[in-house]
């Protein structure tokens, strides 16, 4: 039996070590050597693949603990202080007391608008990944760089998409890493990308209305490059429904970095 004193000590430690705990789960930057892949949308006319160059990406989504450390040095992003121009009223909704509770420190931060995610990454010397970069890394399973053709892989992702999130509590970050050594791209939160809102079908920009219709129609997936990947289709549809100031449950982010040339 743990004495009351010990319990108190543990809680005190937990409280004071909050930022230390956050540091504990600090993601590593993983080098992605790039390559060609077939995105679901955004292919140019007559092109069959896009080339993704070399870049680095966080191995884990940004946690509440890490985001809290950012907010301390960027008071314009404190809960209740963010500009209405850049955020909506649900900003950091799950930080009930204006700060994350001890349980949430290693959980991925959610209810953050694109503007905040973008500024966070710049503060780390990085940026948000492009949609192509994100999808390229997310096409990997644990053993293969590209599992996006495997029905079992897609099935697993779709199974997560259909699972309701219980009372807003998310698991801690740190799931099994994929082929690149990157974790939690699927199964935890959706993630912002720098160009989340620029999904146009190849062709004339004046026909962008058609592009949107293609996205949202169920049959739209048929017009896309990869008929089988309904999971990717759902991600594109979600991104397209967002505005940069929206704070949404289950929507977090991670940062990417340009490779520093030696």
């Amino acid at each position: 039996m743990i004495s009351r004193k010990t319990t108190a000590l543990i809680f005190t430690l937990l409280f004071f070590c909050a930022s230390a705990f956050a540091a504990d789960v600090k993601p590593t930057k993983v080098l992605i050597t790039g390559g060609e892949f077939q995105p679901l949308y955004g292919l140019e006319k007559d092109a069959t693949v896009v080339r993704v160059g070399r870049f680095l990406i966080d191995s884990l989504p940004v946690t509440n603990g890490e985001y809290f450390a950012f907010v301390k040095t960027h008071p314009q992003w404190k809960k209740g202080k963010a500009l209405p121009l850049l955020s909506d009223e649900r900003y950091l909704e799950v930080w009930k007391k204006g700060v994350p509770d001890a349980q949430q420190l290693k959980q991925p931060v959610v209810f953050v608008p694109w503007f905040a995610a973008s500024e966070y990454c710049h503060a780390q010397g990085g940026r948000l990944p492009s949609t192509f970069e994100w999808e390229f890394v997310a096409a990997a399973d644990e053993t293969r760089a590209n599992a996006s053709r495997d029905p079992a892989f897609i099935e697993k992702i779709l199974e997560w998409y259909s699972r309701p999130n219980k009372d807003g509590h998310l698991p801690d970050v740190g799931g099994k890493p994929n082929y690149w050594g990157v974790s939690d791209l699927h199964g935890l939160v959706w993630e912002w990308t720098v160009d989340f809102n620029s999904v146009f079908q190849a062709g004339d920009s004046r026909r962008e209305g058609d592009a949107l219709k293609n996205l949202f129609c169920g049959t739209g997936a048929e017009g896309s490059a990869d008929r089988g990947n309904y999971a990717a289709f759902m991600r594109y549809a979600l991104r397209n429904s967002l505005k940069a100031r929206y704070s949404t449950a289950n929507l977090g982010f991670r940062c990417a970095y340009d490779e520093v040339k030696k």
Partner: protein
């Protein structure tokens, strides 16, 4: 001479220093004003500034890139129609055109474009800024753009915004489907 230097220093302090305080809200603008976020731009004369320099006036705001073949000439044409309508109604507004092509549309290129297009009215302004600023501004305005053909062309939203004197959005023309008189109607 010393006086001139002092003035220059003052100008640098007043101008450059505030530009560094990105995303910190100057208190004088409402929280939903486009001017609440500090984003530095360089105009086609090489002068540094921010959109909030137009505070107190109405601003017609849009994005183009000068290498554009498809819809940008339409955008410029629409801006000219807006100018004509303003003149006809004896109204005034600043016309601010931001390039989405940070790589190629340097202030010099913008100046050449302006000259070539004979857009020499003093209330017209062409702005260059780093890509991240363009993306932030276009996201604030709810638009998007995407490089295609290896960065040679852009696909982008066709939007023209009208900002009020406090920088709040008062009117949006999307895809050219709003009549010009309706667009400029809110201008007092």
């Amino acid at each position: 001479m010393k006086r001139a230097l002092k003035l220059l220093l003052l100008a640098v302090i007043c101008f450059v220093v505030p530009l560094r305080a990105s995303a910190e809200a100057p208190k004088k603008f409402p929280g939903d004003s486009v001017y609440a976020v500090s984003l530095p731009w360089t105009d086609d004369a090489g002068k540094k500034g921010e959109l909030s320099q137009f505070a107190g006036k109405y601003v017609v705001l849009t994005f183009i890139y000068t290498h554009c073949q498809a819809s940008c000439p339409l955008t410029i044409g629409r801006l000219k129609s807006i100018q004509d309508e303003l003149d006809a109604k004896h109204k005034t507004a600043e016309i601010a055109v931001v390039s989405m092509d940070a790589d190629r549309d340097t202030p010099e290129v913008l100046a050449a474009f302006r000259k070539e297009q004979k857009l020499d009215r003093a209330n017209w302004h062409f702005f260059w800024g780093p890509d991240e600023n363009v993306r932030t501004l276009s996201s604030i305005l709810g638009g998007s753009y995407q490089k295609t053909k290896g960065g040679m062309e852009f696909m982008h939203s066709n939007m023209i915004h009208l900002l009020g004197p406090d920088g709040r959005i008062v009117e949006v023309m999307e895809g050219f489907n709003k009549p010009v008189p309706e667009f400029v109607a809110p201008i007092k």
